[in-house]
Symmetry: C2
Subunit: 270 residues, 2 copies
């Protein structure tokens, strides 16, 4: 059991928790809590990606079965409760933390219907989304609404930020995504693949619920404060707006994305 915060592994974990550059360099991310680490263990592909699992001492006593399941499959280590607290990103640590190697997805992965029902591609494109909670919520909502994947500009908030990972509620493990340097170019690629691209835009002409999203569809969603950059919005086939009442000037970005995604989901169920 590791009992000192000066331990080399502990110092390493803290670096991975706090520094996106270090996570990028090692091509890993951290997953906390029994629920999300348990999902990794239950998925054959993800299980192979687990590099090491850390438990707090009291977790091993309280959750013997889950501890055993990890010990059988992965490299593991026990930390004293106070060292675990020191490492954890949350106020009330749940006592289990995994270092996980990243998976990468191709453009084809984000267009493929994983439900096996052969449905048309349904892609969410994020331009400079900055809030970790919004990013996590978009993943969670995208999975529920039946999106096939997410495309994001390289200046979006780090998807492997611990708060983002947590707020995806596991959707991060299941929704394929690509981070791209040149978003307009990637949007043009979508169009070449026969996907109709809609920009959520305050100045959009058509209300969002007057379009047909049953074919290949992509929604462009912009930054929280500034909306879509013009060079991204101008790639769209069509600008759509979400009609708003009262003096509301805009919607939260994750809410706007949800409204569009569930309208597409609604149409595809008809």
């Amino acid at each position: 059991m590791i009992t000192s915060t000066g331990n080399a592994q502990v110092r390493e974990l803290v670096k991975l928790m706090k520094k996106s550059r270090e996570r990028d360099r090692q091509n890993v991310f951290l997953v906390e809590g029994p629920r999300m680490t348990g999902e990794l263990l239950d998925d054959r592909e993800w299980q192979k990606q687990i590099q090491k699992v850390y438990f707090s001492e009291s977790f091993t006593k309280k959750s013997g079965n889950l501890t055993e399941a990890f010990v059988r499959q992965c490299r593991t280590e026990i930390l004293s409760d106070s060292v675990f607290e020191y490492v954890s990103d949350t106020k009330t640590p749940q006592g289990i933390l995994a270092v996980v190697e990243r998976r990468t997805y191709s453009r084809d992965d984000i267009l493929r219907d994983l439900s096996g029902q052969g449905r048309a591609p349904f892609v969410i494109v994020l331009d400079n989304l900055q809030d970790p909670g919004n990013m996590g919520t978009v993943f969670r909502t995208a999975e529920a609404a039946g999106a096939t994947g997410i495309l994001m500009s390289s200046d979006c908030v780090d998807i492997y930020n611990p708060k983002v990972v947590r707020s995806t509620m596991g959707a991060l493990f299941r929704v394929p995504f690509c981070r791209v340097e040149d978003l307009p170019e990637s949007v043009e690629d979508l169009k070449k693949a026969g996907i109709r691209v809609y920009a959520a835009h305050l100045e959009g002409k058509n209300p969002y619920d007057r379009e047909d999203y049953r074919g290949g569809t992509a929604f462009l969603i912009g930054n929280e404060g500034n909306g879509l950059r013009e060079e991204v919005a101008s790639c769209a086939d069509c600008r759509i707006r979400i009609p708003m009442e009262g003096k509301a000037e805009s919607l939260n970005a994750a809410v706007a994305a949800a409204v569009l995604m569930f309208e597409a989901g609604r149409q595809r169920r008809q």
Copy 2:
């Protein structure tokens, strides 16, 4: 100008910022930033509620016009920049902060269509919603979707929590709301007023998009982790579910509310 954090007014402001009980006792709340305080000044009813406005020294220099507008209408005070930072709830304080007396709304207020188009009541009912960001987002979304008001259980997060106030983006000033001790009783009152009550529920029988929300409508939205309490859900005329794909088990509470509200908005625009 106040230059000491030991000043009695400063100590008072910090108490109001941090303690919901003190805000309740004085029947006030705090509003930060030029945009949201500006909305108070622009609204005749709200302007009357402003008790005092505090500026940072540099704000008065940088934003002379807005400062002047407040000085003409309200009691004001200047704080040194460091004292303002000490008081502010945000990491990068914008230099203006108002102490505002609360307004109270009747049940009739939350049923009345403020747009003057005489539309049927459209109420959001929140049961034990806990996350400040979610609460703010629900207000912001409710205004945009055309809800007539919000009803909430007394154990919801404090609506006057500075983070809630901020994340409503001003919708708090425009969407009437009531906090009630006995939520099931209030829901029964809605039903007596001819409003059809829908519970968003994972075990709902009907998909949400198969119901007609053009008449008087209320949506019951539950706690982030536990959903609706059974004693609240059982008041509903009908349990509806939002169909979900993949392994998603639930939606973020503010997202679920948004999907329902915009479906109602969509139907009401047809």
